[in-house]
Symmetry: C3
């Protein structure tokens, strides 16, 4: 368990399993039954809660927290709720400084989770996706492979994002069209669906339940109040279909 | 003071007072005269600065900082400024991972302060309010009870938010109509006033000093340049009054 | 090296050089060849990576990280890339709680970097500039002196911001007009240029490569799709030139 690669101040549970060459920084906490693969480097003050599974070649930066349990009041009657599976991170991924990954979250291989990003429970992130600095992915969301979610983009709970999607900085989504009122809202509650190879411009806003179809482009600052059709550019407040996406920009054409 | 519920690496000041059943994580710092009530659970690397008062049943997550003093230059002549009262957190509240709560801040009971939220000095937050992930509440702001401030919403300094207000993700406010120029601005400096049961949609922007009246609704992406009238829906850039709020959505009707 | 001003749990490399009166909090890590000037105060859990240079009178708050190396896959063939120079922070500056400053970043004197701000590699920040709470400054960006970047403002990579610029809360910028497609984008890739004394209103969005000229004002929520002319107010989506900036607000007139 111990070696000269593990800082003397690190607290590693005796029932954690670290590959022999793992490097562990100062003041790190590694809980019970955590597994860390070969070649991983764990920064100072990182926290790996019990059960967390880290693949090989992963870099985890200072102050990152993995395997956080969702927050419920300390005295809540629901603390006996169904236990989530451990958080897992695939091979050769990177977890940034101060990032928070919840228990019940599955992150693929070669994923970059940048500084101060938060990823909630029951989220999956596909291989080679970039989760930018400060991005928040709320619970019960799936994000495909090779997506790029840029700085401070926000994916609300119950969002679906397919493969090869581009989400520019500061894009906002929402899932409650009634903003907290009426019983009816509960049946209509839902995040956006963003289909394969769609792209959303900087500062775009997507209303609850809207679908952005394959290869659609949403312009900078656009407010998407209706479903956005495939392969078209949608601009304005509210957004309107304006023209076809330039053929050389289509993923289908190798763009 | 010490018990097997307190991690061996935690640094607890001898003049702090923790209820006997409090759990304290690894590498926690608890300062002088801090008081922590029964049933609290404090995560790893949390910092409770001197004097901080925590009620009963509070959960404080990893890396949270409570009781931070406002920043002034280390050599500033004003470091002898009036001392703020300690930060206080009411019973059964939750403080998320990496959240920062300043000295001079009063948080009610059953409040959720989610991950990476920051709450500045001279702020009050009413009971059962949710302060979402990444929300920033600047200094000298009051937030009522049962409000919901969603992910990354931003309340500028000198804002007033009454009870039962809903603020969707990414809502922005501001308080300086002159953007840092002229002496005249100092007399007109002021945040928004958001009256009881008002609701602001995702990505809405509110200009300095504007009032959002009771039960008003601001649409997604709207830019509020004038006061928004009660019980009306306001849409667009700049926002205009467009229709009455649906009666079943009014809080007054049990919506 | 050690003194009663250095917390007993702090880990200070024997080849770090701290002025005799520096205060160091609990669980701090200070790496090899770090230099810290007279009168500095370093909060709990702060991390100063190897080589970081801190001037005199600097306050570094809890959980701040300075000198972080950019993230590359742990097993990447490019980890032998050119080494960046150490991070440096000028006299009397302040670094907030949870802020992250990368290696290769130069911060001037009397700068405030507020809580949870992140500043990437090859960034310069001029004297007396305020980098607000949650602000992200991406790599290869220069920010002048006496600027004010307010809460959650976002500067994309390869941005240029001259002196005395005001950037309101939540302003967004971008640098890839092709949103990740085509080879042609690589030659047109570029952040905004924001000239001296320009001001951007709350929630404004700036498209890739646009120039905001001297003393220009961009209105709240405006989307800047074309270059913005000097000394004019630009409003709307997309933004249009509407009137001259009021003379008393011009910096040239002492505004």
């Amino acid at each position: 368990m111990s070696s000269d690669r593990i800082a003397p101040t690190a607290r590693v549970h005796p029932d954690a399993h670290l590959a022999p060459d793992v490097q562990v920084g100062e003041f790190v906490f590694i809980g019970e039954k955590v597994r860390v693969g070969a070649g991983c480097v764990i920064g100072h003050h990182a926290v790996l809660h019990d059960g967390t599974r880290i693949g090989a070649g992963v870099r985890i930066d200072d102050h990152a927290v993995l395997g956080k349990r969702p927050m419920r009041a300390a005295r809540s009657a629901t603390t006996s709720a169904v236990e989530l599976p451990p958080a897992s991170v695939g091979d050769d991924s990177l977890i940034g400084t101060g990032a928070v990954v919840y228990r019940g979250c599955t992150i693929g291989a070669r994923v970059l989770v940048a500084d101060l990003a938060t990823i909630r429970e029951r989220v999956t992130v596909g291989d080679e996706t970039i989760v930018g600095r400060g991005v928040a992915i709320e619970n019960d969301t799936s994000v495909g492979a090779r997506c790029k979610l840029e700085t401070n983009a926000y994916l609300t709970a119950y969002s679906t994002v397919e493969d090869d999607v581009f989400v520019a900085p500061g894009v906002l989504t929402s899932n409650d069209a009634f903003m907290g009122r009426t019983e009816a809202r509960k049946s209509q509650f839902g995040g956006p669906t963003i289909r394969q190879s769609a792209r959303l411009g900087v500062g775009a806003v997507v209303l609850p339940g809207r679908e952005i179809a394959t290869e659609a482009v949403i312009g900078a600052g656009a407010v998407v109040t209706r479903d956005a059709s495939a392969g078209q550019v949608h601009l304005g407040v509210p957004s309107r279909e304006t023209r076809e996406v330039a053929p050389e920009q289509l993923r289908a054409n190798g763009g």
